[in-house]
Symmetry: D2
């Protein structure tokens, strides 16, 4: 029995395409699930080795279902991320022409991405939402709608034809996916990593959040994401999901986390993993005084002072 990865289904969506970019999927069973919580629960209860779910997209921002699942419940850890550019194809039954399209469908999340294209090319077509882009393609196959917006890769699966490809309103439309498992030792640094955590403030006062961010700033650690999520304790009560540049084995990241652990009500570590979309050449040099060597020689110097040898 092969180890299995769950993912946010159904089959034939962008999530599956992104997942299959990971080489190890060749030797894993890939199991589509009906929801992000279902995909993650399978990991939490030991049925799956890992789950692959969207966590952020460039149009909608953080995927709140995924963030809220990672923020609470049994701790999970992020091991990998994948960035996928999102463009749509207009899928039709073979033979359909543009002028023959009266109805179109897709998942509601596709709408902001194709709205302008629709206005320009099919101003009179009626839109109806589908449960997923893959489901929309299936409904076109069954003849219920004339056309569906979906990934081009879905055409083959449903016997459809791409009348138009590369449709996207926002330039650089991308979705970020993460591979999530149970906690274990993070992979060694790749040279271009990021670290994800969740912070809960100890109390609320002027400068409170500024001081938390100061723990990163004082060590030259750059932030890549700051997303607030309600704690459930009532309106205006938030925790913060943060992605920081660097790996927890980097001294500057480790020390920033120690500082946060001391001054926060709670800190949850969500993993250190290679950054998608950028290799070591995209990593900025550490600011003066924040390299591992400088941290180590500073610690060594303090130890020698404590000992009277300096």
């Amino acid at each position: 029995m092969p180890a299995s990865y769950t993912y946010l289904g159904p089959e034939g969506t962008f999530t599956e395409v992104a997942l299959r970019t990971l080489p190890e999927t060749a030797t894993r069973e890939l199991v589509p699930m009906v929801s992000v919580p279902a995909a993650l629960d399978a990991v939490r209860n030991g049925e799956a080795e890992a789950a692959f779910v969207p966590i952020e997209n460039s149009v909608e921002g953080g995927i709140t279902t995924t963030l809220d699942e990672l923020v609470s419940g049994e701790p999970l850890m992020i091991y990998r991320e994948v960035l996928l550019s999102i463009t749509f194809a207009l899928l039709v039954r073979p033979g359909t022409t543009l002028s023959g399209i009266k109805t179109v469908t897709a998942h509601p999340a596709a709408q902001p991405q194709v709205r302008n294209w629709l206005k320009a090319h099919l101003p009179n077509a009626v839109w109806e939402s589908a449960a997923s882009n893959a489901d929309g393609a299936r409904l076109v196959q069954e003849g219920r709608y004339d056309a569906a917006f979906a990934g081009e890769f879905a055409a083959a699966r449903y016997g459809l034809q791409a009348l138009e490809t590369g449709i996207h309103d926002a330039e650089n439309a991308q979705t970020r996916f993460v591979l999530v498992g149970r906690p274990a030792r993070p992979a060694a640094p790749s040279g271009a990593d990021k670290t994800s955590i969740v912070l809960w403030q100890r109390d609320d006062h002027p400068g409170g959040l500024r001081d938390l961010l100061g723990e990163f700033a004082a060590r030259g650690v750059n932030l890549m994401l700051l997303q607030s999520r309600p704690t459930g304790a009532g309106i205006g009560n938030y925790c913060f999901c943060i992605d920081a540049e660097g790996h927890i084995s980097d001294r500057r990241v480790a020390e920033a986390l120690m500082g946060l652990k001391r001054i926060c009500l709670q800190v949850r570590f969500l993993g250190s993993y290679p950054r998608a979309g950028g290799g070591p050449e995209d990593v900025r040099s550490p600011l003066p005084g924040t390299s591992d060597d400088e941290f180590m020689s500073a610690a060594d110097w303090v130890a020698r002072c404590q000992d009277g040898r300096f």
Copy 2:
């Protein structure tokens, strides 16, 4: 022709209930709209005086559609906010008993709030989503489902009966709504106000966001909300929606905004308005050195120094 307020429809939802708590609605025409953008567009193009829409809830966090509408497009301004506690009633046709309920419906947003109640009391009922809670009630009236979760106030409108009231999973479940209009002079301070803005960072570097928050902290201005939203420039590019304690006519708030205006790429002012859920007695005293008097006498002192009279 009376002035009109649009709101996120349909009729008979929590939004309408919250809206009707504003006294001036007695003399306004209230017009339900199919979406937040539709409600706000009516204000932008002059068809309505103001729009009333949800902006934050204690379970889901910021309402991204509303935030994204306020962040971009023609500037709008928030004039009022309303906090409403959200609890559900289980609405049935008169005569239905708990044991007779096989199917239930409601808007998907209601699900996290009633999930535990359902497990405990109707573990075998089948859930189907409705376009709105009001729509769910209508479908029960029509006999399509046995029961709907909705506000208790919807029972009368649809000739239904509340079999159970006060259903909510999260304690303190609340939604915050705002009344939005075209820019004009903000109302005078009420003594317990908040100020909403949107910030775009000039560039991205370690400590960048910490420095922005430092403009508030240095003047003792407390933050009530920090919500990141994608700018549309690609993954990882965010602007920040911020609610701060105080009114733009408070010197400490005004000076913090000036500081942000200088160091940010862009700042959008979204209004200063009375806080819901807290009167002047809930407002903390200004930190030493941050009262209006202290700001004014400091400015006066510098003017005298510039003039050689001190």
Copy 3:
């Protein structure tokens, strides 16, 4: 009766040389005084227009007598500064050779500057202190000592000869002098100015001084001097004499001073005046967001927001 400037006497010292570099001294009566307090008191009580006194030197640091006089008592203001490089000449009666020198004299402050030269060239000479370098030269003239260290300019006055010039142990030995008067409107900005103030902290807590310096840092104002002086309230109680880059009519300086005025127990303004030793070409460009234009357009923007016109 010409207006008079007092200065730290006696005649024939570096102070007088520095004072005479100011063009207006051609039309002033220059009056040597026995001490810094005496020179300043003459200004305070209206007998003199201004006083010229040393305030900092590169070997000894701040001249505490001068700082303490400016920190307390009737307010005074700095109008000009002069930087003078300090090198000594070895003055002897005509005909004296190096080998004939058994005794040398000078003001004690000269000793650290000539110690190495003495060791190398006159290892056996006996040193005795004089009340001033000028007084030392006079005593050589009278035959009491064989040689005096003094400014080369003193040779002519006392009929002596410079056996050696350019003597100085520390490279870049310089003294900074200031011209001090009663408070009046500071001169207009020269393009390369500095501003002097004194700060008293409101209370003593972790981060207190950091926050004071933060008022400069947040507006991109660089510090050129930070000198603590006892307040007289017991050991460990200090006020801070600070020189900052820029002129009080620069918006970034003015706003930093306002911030300090609010959060400090007390702030004393000591003047804005042209920097010696550096023209406009040595002034760094303001950091992004800290130019006068940016301050003014930010203030204008806030005013428009307060008014609803944006």
Copy 4:
């Protein structure tokens, strides 16, 4: 041969009185030296075990000679400090009355402390400076002056009589002395300690010094002294002598020093030693998040995250 302590002589001064408050002086040879550098050089070259010198007084501030000696040259370490209240006695030959005093003497440093008393009680007496207060007493003994200001303890030594005691202009006039030795392991924490260091900035830019102080502030470490001293690299170039609350074996102090070591050009450790003038009851509680326990459990938590066990 007993171990010896040098001290700033001559005998019979406040320095000797302060030194004798240390119990171990009963078993040490106490050797007066002509200057602070001489006292410290004897330690540096191994002739003495330790040197006892003044470092700060409440009227004059930091004793620059002592600070400059500690800042440069072979590293030394502070092991103890002593606080002594400074009040003067007016010493005369037996039989002299107040009306018979025409001339008075003392070290110049005494003058600011007795000036008001002189004005009130001996307005016509002529002041001449002595090389030390003890020397002044000796000159009275020899008949050269009528009276000397000195510590009351000097009366017996010189066969004089105290005509008046407790003379002091500034309330709380105190001098702080330190016992300095070669580097060795600091004494264990006493519960009320301080730590002395010297900092050299890496470069000079807006916010540079604020960031250095931020390393203390972020860990809740309070500063007790900040004294700038010229580096010798020309006017405006300073290093900073800092006394911080706490012991280098306190985690918050150790980590602040590590941070400074990384971002400074240079840091010199001058010792951790018991505070004079304040026992454990005067030590403020650590700010939330800055106790040793919190530092250790934060470090432990990061180690577990790095290991995947959390």
